[in-house]
């Protein structure tokens, strides 16, 4: 007993200490967690490392806009916006954990502009159960707008991928009625959403699609040659590429290497001028390539004297790591503009409930200076698709050129 005695004593002391420390973990139930008299805390998870790290700059650009508002306007209604960004490396497991950290430990008021379809799906139920607004998620997956009835604390922002697919269908039917369409798409929700939009848009003419070939994100870019040769072999004269930037660049270069010159459509995610120039440097012939846009392109000279573009350049100077020409950065600034708009509207009633209500059903923003003229950001009590307008663009002389006018897909997707 002489030896066990002290040991048991130590153990007992340890247990007593544990029990003594075991106070309540302290949960606040105030309706406006994360808001003080002079600050608002927003949270975000995004990929800043890993395969999708290129998107990470979006959050930094958003932060640059909040910094700009804090410095020039003293914040929103006297409250400075603090923005906490965490790196989820594009994996749902990290997103779940970091979102819990932001909500439970950092006590954020709302989640803003979380990026990625799988990552944001993984936290959607959690945030809705906790009644934490999941605002303006950075994905065009249609579910984030269409499934509002089950998830009414969640709202997207950018045009849904299906809507974009429908716009392409309209363009084909109007200008290339005899097209033999071939599609190269990424085999995930993103590529499949686009394909569905295109098929739905073509409607009874969907037999115009001769063949659709898919690839997986885990594939290597050069292997796309197999799919593209197959499409070429089937006599396709109109090629759709629904891919992420790296694969789009590869596909464009391989298409030229196969000395194949079909009419080519690209989805908007992969069309920033930065990527087009990389594709050109790899030998891809790009003249006549078609896509759509809803945000002003920072590399387009026609906006050189535009007030919105000037403001963007002032704002982005607040972010030392952001490249001015990167299309992702103006996206970030534009969505942050909408966020500030919502907070301004909420005024003194800064509760999660009120902010969510404004975002999901009372948005009516006709003056977002970073979007193409005429694009509105709008939600009503039965329409939860904030942006639905896009404009066809074509590539020539090393730049995108707007064609025709905006096409609106409001109300066509449910």
């Amino acid at each position: 007993m002489a030896k066990t005695g002290p040991r048991l004593g130590v153990l007992a002391a340890f247990l007593v200490t544990l029990a003594a420390c075991g106070g309540s973990p302290g949960t606040t139930t105030a309706t406006d967690v994360g808001v003080t008299s002079n600050s608002i805390l927003l949270g975000n998870t995004i990929a800043q490392s890993g395969p999708a790290a290129a998107y990470g700059t979006i959050a930094n650009a958003e932060n640059a806009y909040f910094t700009y508002i804090n410095n020039t306007k003293g914040g929103v209604n006297g409250r400075k916006i603090n923005f906490k960004i965490l790196d989820d490396a594009y994996t749902p497991a990290n997103a779940v954990l970091l979102t819990k950290q932001l909500v439970e430990q950092d006590q954020v008021f709302a989640m803003f502009s979380g990026l990625g379809t799988q990552t944001q799906t993984s936290v959607r139920d959690y945030l809705n159960t906790k009644k934490v607004p999941q605002l303006f998620v950075a994905t065009g997956a249609t579910t984030f707008m269409a499934d509002y009835s089950q998830h009414n604390w969640t709202i997207g922002w950018q045009p849904p991928y299906q809507g974009e697919g429908r716009i392409y269908a309209k363009d084909v039917l109007a200008n290339h009625k005899a097209a033999k369409i071939g599609v190269l798409y990424q085999n995930d929700d993103y590529g499949q959403d686009y394909l569905k939009g295109l098929k739905d848009g073509l409607g009874s003419n969907s037999s115009m699609i001769v063949d659709a070939e898919s690839y997986d994100v885990t594939a290597a870019v050069p292997t796309l040659a197999a799919q593209l040769s197959k499409l070429k072999g089937k006599g396709v004269d109109t090629l759709f590429i629904f891919a992420t930037p790296a694969f789009t660049i590869g596909a464009l270069a391989i298409r030229t290497a196969l000395s194949w010159t079909p009419l080519t459509y690209l989805n908007s995610v992969s069309n920033p001028a930065v990527y087009m120039k990389i594709a050109a440097s790899k030998g891809a012939k790009l003249d006549g390539v078609i896509s759509v846009a809803y945000i002003k392109d920072p590399t387009d000279p026609q906006w050189a004297n535009d007030d919105g573009m000037k403001l963007y350049k002032t704002v982005i100077a607040n972010c030392s790591t952001c490249k001015v020409d990167d299309g992702f950065n103006i996206y970030g600034v534009a969505v942050a503009y909408t966020m500030v708009d919502v907070l301004t509207k909420a005024g003194s009633n800064m509760t999660r409930e009120n902010v969510r209500n404004i975002a999901v059903s009372q948005l009516d923003e006709t003056n977002n200076p970073f979007l193409l003229p005429g694009v509105v950001v709008k939600t009503t009590s039965n329409d939860h698709f904030p942006i639905t307008q896009e404009q066809v663009i074509t590539w020539s002389a090393n730049g995108w050129h707007l064609q025709g006018s905006l096409t609106d897909e409001r109300g066509t997707i449910s």
Binding site: M1, K3, T4, R7, L11, F14, L15, L18, A19, C21, G22, G23, S24, P25, G26, T27, Q48, S49, G50, A53, G56, N60, I85, L86, D87, A89, Y90, T91, P92, A93, N94, V96, L97, K100, Q101, E104, Q105, T117, Q118, T119, T121, S122, D125, Y126, T143, N187, D188, D189, Q192, D216, V217, T218, S320, T321
Partner: protein
Amino acid sequence: MYRQVQQRLRSAPPRYWLVLVLVLFFIGLPTVITSFQASEWTLVLIFAIVIMGLNILVGYSGQISLGHGALMALGAYTSAILIHRYQVDYLVTIPIAGLVTGLIGFLLGIPALRLSALYLALATFALAVVTPSLIKRPAGLTGGVQGILISSPDPPQFAKDAFASVTSGPPMSSDQWMYYLSLISALVLFWLAWNLIRRRPGRALRAIRDREVAAASYGINIAGYKTMAFGISAFYAGIGGSLYGLAIGFVSPDTFPLALSFQLLVGTVVGGLASIAGPLIGGVFTFWLPIVSSQFVGSQSWIPAQIASVFQKAGPAVTYGALLIVVMIFAPNGVAGLIRTGYMRLQARLRGAGDRGTGQMPPDPQTV
């Protein structure tokens, strides 16, 4: 009887007391930390379970696997599909996931017999590469790229009440319940591993690892033990994967990226190969390193933004690599090995190195 118990207690080596303290620490932990922090430690425990399995394979049997992320995915999907499609109770699905994954692992072990270390690494690596694509194919079963959402399990009433009365706070949350579920699984699986290692199979595995020909000449069934090691290792990964899915509440192809398999292997090596304590340290390491390296650097205002951003982009990967090199140079037996050697040296000094230290057997050679 009482005397015997007293006798055993007195003669128990100090590390038994250390284990007891550690177990009590883990039991008490959720009462002093928040529910969110408990959910972080849940993942530490889950990684520890998977790494324990990997340790049996890599540390004790001397085979290598870069595909344990894929095996975790198999376990997680087994559970998720059973819960979601067949409304099976989640508790029942955990052992089922372990057994299914174990069986698959056992089958994987058969071709592994014909492959030497490098080729085995490549073969298991291929498994990790194709798994995300394979998961997407039967979209009706696996939910395809949308994944499967699992609602977080609610703790049973007795646990809720017990927790509330101990902490005199709110009842047990589902995060805290997942913590205890993982802790119980970890305790059982560590105990099993400890028993396995100390007995005949453990000795046979180590013999095979150190010199296969010699082991065969002693009549050890090499093929049998090697495939068994694969099977057991996969069983651990399956249980871990199942708990991982439940703790996160969502399984999808991206939940199990390629990097996960690397992180697990690095965690095994850093924790300490062929050691029972190693996997726990490995679990702590695997979970906390990416988080600390990405959040710590960003929060330090003295680091210039440019450098911080470069570091953050490559962050976890760089720290993983750097730490692995440091550990290999200064602690080839991992952190657990370092602690053990340190403890032995301390003991030798305390007892007087002159008389006893020299007479000691050198520690086991712990090479893969």
